[in-house]
Subunit: 339 residues, 2 copies
Amino acid sequence: MSVERSAGPARLIDVAERAGVSMKTVSNVINEYAHVSARTRERVVAAIEEVGYRPNLSARNLARGRAGVIALVVPQLSLPYFASLAGILVRAAEARGWFVLIHQTDGDPDAERAALAGNFPQRVDGMIVSSQMLDPSDVAGMNRSTPLVILSNREFDPGTPHVSIDNRAAGAVAVRHLATGGARRIALIGASDLDSPAPRTKGYLDGLENAGLPLFPELVRPVTRGTGDEGERATEELLSEAAEPPDGIVAITDWVAMGVMRALHRHGLVVPEDVSVIGFDDIPYARSLTPSLTTLAPDRHGIATMALDLLQRQMDQGVAVGQGSLQAGFTLIVRETTR
Amino acid sequence: MSVERSAGPARLIDVAERAGVSMKTVSNVINEYAHVSARTRERVVAAIEEVGYRPNLSARNLARGRAGVIALVVPQLSLPYFASLAGILVRAAEARGWFVLIHQTDGDPDAERAALAGNFPQRVDGMIVSSQMLDPSDVAGMNRSTPLVILSNREFDPGTPHVSIDNRAAGAVAVRHLATGGARRIALIGASDLDSPAPRTKGYLDGLENAGLPLFPELVRPVTRGTGDEGERATEELLSEAAEPPDGIVAITDWVAMGVMRALHRHGLVVPEDVSVIGFDDIPYARSLTPSLTTLAPDRHGIATMALDLLQRQMDQGVAVGQGSLQAGFTLIVRETTR
DNA sequence: CTGAAAGCGCTTACAG
DNA sequence: CTGAAAGCGCTTACAG
């Protein structure tokens, strides 16, 4: 019996000695390389088990010349849409041997741009930037060296590695659902500028056209950050300014929809009898609201997987080559806020 | 001018050559050790700037014999209470040079126990386990070697490193607030077993006694995971079984409170006119509900800071010595669901 | 105050 | 299929 090291966790060499093979062979087994006989493999696996070996990732990453870390940039983890996306991404990344360094910008455009430029406290192998405020122009001029994927509901150049759902189609589906329920004056709380509409706003316009419904500009209201307070304020303004209240409202996020419902309630309008409301995101609490919220649920798993795929592609093929956009699916979830 | 390395980020030795000093001196400057003259320090700082040096954390951690990573174990990141806690913890840990590896258990007790035992895909310097289901007995018998801090609303042995708010006091404050508003039949949705009550349940009992109110056992209902669905179902049962409905309800979490409000609404009971409702957590959406939710807000920053302090203490003084519990503060936030 | 050198635990050409 | 050895980029006694 060989002398045991008195302290510290088992190392690769401890496994090798125990199994009576070289470190290279143990490494081959761990990393699932070919050319290890079944018998040897078994011995090594048994030795790993016996000494309780787990690889030291610092050493591995140092030897491999990678950080083993990717950055996920989000406005705030306290926003449940981003939190649940982060949760899924953390799991998916873990399966591919990456740690996720979560970086929060508080939605500050400068902080988002700084993150885009890769100003992290440490090196990262790639970054996934989930942005609300980011402009295509912020990305266009960048001199990038680190693999990057953008998650955003805005439109980007075809060359930009970008993952989203088909927001234009989703916007149209939202309007169609409201129209099918009988709505004729459909508002949009959370519109972008109508002159250069963002995808969801385009979809809203498509939906009105498809349903043969008129566009009432007074029913189209912007919000900037997608919070409940903003939704409440915007709806309040709409209700006090519009000649007639809407009978259907598309809210740009579920959180905005919550604010919309507060304002409607204050004006004595009942959901869904007087006004139908539909949101985007399917936050975990949507089903627990009174009434529970109809919403468009993005395929978060799809988004996470595609983002990691695009990152991997840039690592394999080089940042300049491995680009392109991917679209994940979405689902209409009908609950109690729509007729 | 010396020959530049063609590829790759700058290393410590590049800085040293540029500044004309040894690696040790650069290291001293970076790690803020003493005994570097002001002139030398300036030269080194300038060189760091010029070559754009950032330390390779894999190498640093390998040399220091630490992982540079602490694990945060939560049920799910999609639950906003945990998400916002994680967000704060990530920031606080970053400031102390730690990465946070987020591990999700889905509230599965087996997964929580496995995490407690330190079964991570990689080594960690410490772990913070935020658990709902964990029992003091799960911890008592553990043979621990990794620093550990538990975040839980249950009671643990004094020796267990544990951070929470004073849940008993908070429970009593919730009841007092309802009683002050005129409630006389106060229910608790989310009670633990009355025979061995958890702190919040104890506080509820304290509160009734302090206010001179009777305990109606039929108004005390358990929930296990603290979701909206559970709160709705428990309230539904209460309303169909109790002789008379309650006029005040303490919900064990804000999410449970949302389910409570759904059930009340279905039974034609108006909040707060007929029934006042108070939750715990102050999730980001509490203020956007209709009506907005009165709640007890834990000091999340305090919890995060204290957890890291307890971890650090165990690292410095040894796992067995550096223990003890800490309590963070809480705040009553009065909104529209209480009179 | 500073320098030369060993060592952290892996991976990976290179030989065999 | 396996082994001996260099190297990844840091830190840290040890000498000076």
